[in-house]
Amino acid sequence: MSLLETHGLTAFYGQFQALYDLDLVVGEGETIAVIGANGAGKSTLLRTLSGLLSAKASAVTFDGRSVGGLAAPEILRLGIAMTPEGRRLFPSLSVEENLQIGGDRRRGYGRWNLATVYDLFPVLRERRRQPGTALSGGQQQMVAIGRALMSNPRLLLCDEISLGLAPVVINDIYAAIPSIKQNGAAIVIVEQDIGRALQVADRIYCLQEGRITLQGRPAELTREAIQEAYFGH
């Protein structure tokens, strides 16, 4: 059975409709990449799934129950955690506190805790007493991912985790994905870098102007098809 499904999911910012009737599926333990140009609705999709934007109850099912329209804290408690776009660390919290707060309200079953997150990103252990925002962009991204892992989510939503980072730093961050998968979490990654997305994902969805224009396994998709779906005609 699939872990998460959306059925005709729509989303609005005021009068502006950002998502049109999305049907997508995330299997248990599956890694999904959502690609698309700026403004295609990728971040809106994640904000809706995480409960920051409202949706019709029946539009999202998680583990067989309708969760559309639940508030973000309830969604987290069910096992969906998100690393938001721009990392959004808490400036008055230290690195360690930023990690701890991710697990304060939910401690799901799994191996993630402070020690295992530090094992995943060893550089954070040395800097754990510093304010989260004193770190480099890449290290902040590691904290943001670790913070989401601390609740041992069943589904991890990653919004633009490579944005604004140097390629070598992006490598370090993507190197953590296999071990996150290995621990059983399904992952939805929003990514502008198509190459990265194709490397890491079991399946991809391409969004354009709030609609799914392409979906499939990376091996089944041709470069031309992706380009067409990404940029339109």
């Binding site: 804290p73 938001p84 701890q100 707060i101 309200r105």
Partner: protein, 289 residues
């Protein structure tokens, strides 16, 4: 020389009372960036509650405070959850107006119920006890107890704020309420908990205010001003700063009073204004980010 030392010591002791007034205000500002204009009236409300329970119902002071602390927590929680949470977030003005309304409501409600007579909570003679430290230098037991309580309270609040999961959540919500939601933090419940704690702290302030001085339904706003000045002098959102701010305000007032009695309040205000001019963020602002 001993006179100068005495003035300083009495000032710091007075500052303990101002720090008690200010602690709840500082906590609320630190968590939700809101100034509760009814804070002084909440203190007076709690003072009447203590008076009724301790004296009119004859329960005695200790049972009265034991009942008032949790009752004030619940009232603060309910006020935030049912009233303030409806308007908080979008604009700074509506919550401010609501606390102003609460202030008017409490003052008039108390006046209607208890008349304008001034009252006092009996401390079984402890009010007039004092310790002689040196010739010409004696400190009152009650001011000393007030200062020690203020220090204990500030240490306790600081511990909660910086060493517990609750305090982490307070700071996180204050930094970034939206991302706090993603951490599973129900911001509205958390705000209610903060207001509950602030109201309980007001009950502690009320206890010492009521034992040390006469109060009547109209004196709340003046307590708010002292509390507000202590918070601003110490630095917005800084709990330790609030204690220091209270002490500085207390010393300024005692020094003013030593010069001439009518200078007492004015000297406090002047020091407050001087700090605002020289250090608009206060003397010990919370770590700037």
């Amino acid at each position: 020389m001993i006179f100068a030392l005495d003035t300083l010591v009495q000032g710091v002791l007075l500052g303990g009372l101002y720090a008690l007034f200010a602690a709840g205000l500082s906590l609320i500002f630190g968590v939700m960036r809101l100034v509760n204009l009814a804070h002084g009236d909440v203190i007076i409300f709690a003072a009447y509650a203590l008076l009724i329970l301790a004296q009119s119902l004859g329960l005695g002071l200790v049972p009265a405070i034991a009942l008032t602390l949790p009752a004030m927590f619940l009232i603060g929680y309910a006020f935030q959850y049912l009233v303030l949470n409806r308007v908080i977030g979008k604009d700074i003005l509506p919550p401010l107006l609501i606390t102003f309304g609460l202030s008017v409501f409490i003052q008039n409600g108390l006046q209607e119920t208890f008349s304008a007579d001034s009252r006092r909570i009996s401390a079984y003679g402890l009010e007039s006890a004092s310790l002689a430290l040196a010739p010409g230098l004696a400190i009152g037991v009650m001011p000393l107890l007030t200062l020690l309580t203020a220090i204990a309270l500030i240490v306790g609040l600081n511990h909660v704020f910086y060493r517990t999961a609750l305090g982490r959540a307070f700071r996180a919500v204050s930094d970034d309420p939206v991302t706090a939601l993603l951490m599973g933090i129900d911001t509205k419940r958390l705000f209610a908990v903060a207001m509950g704690i602030a109201f309980s702290v007001s009950a502690i302030a009320a206890l010492f205010l009521g034992m040390r001085a006469n109060f009547d339904p109209s004196v709340g706003p003046a307590r708010l001003i002292f509390a507000f000045e202590a918070v601003i002098i110490g630095g917005l959102g800084s709990i330790w700063g609030t204690l220091a701010g209270g002490a500085i305000l207390g010393v300024a007032q005692t020094v003013g009073a030593a010069i001439s009695p009518e200078w007492q309040i004015l000297a406090g205000h002047l020091v407050f204004l001087a700090v605002l001019v020289a250090r608009p963020r206060g003397l010990f602002p919370r770590r700037a980010n």
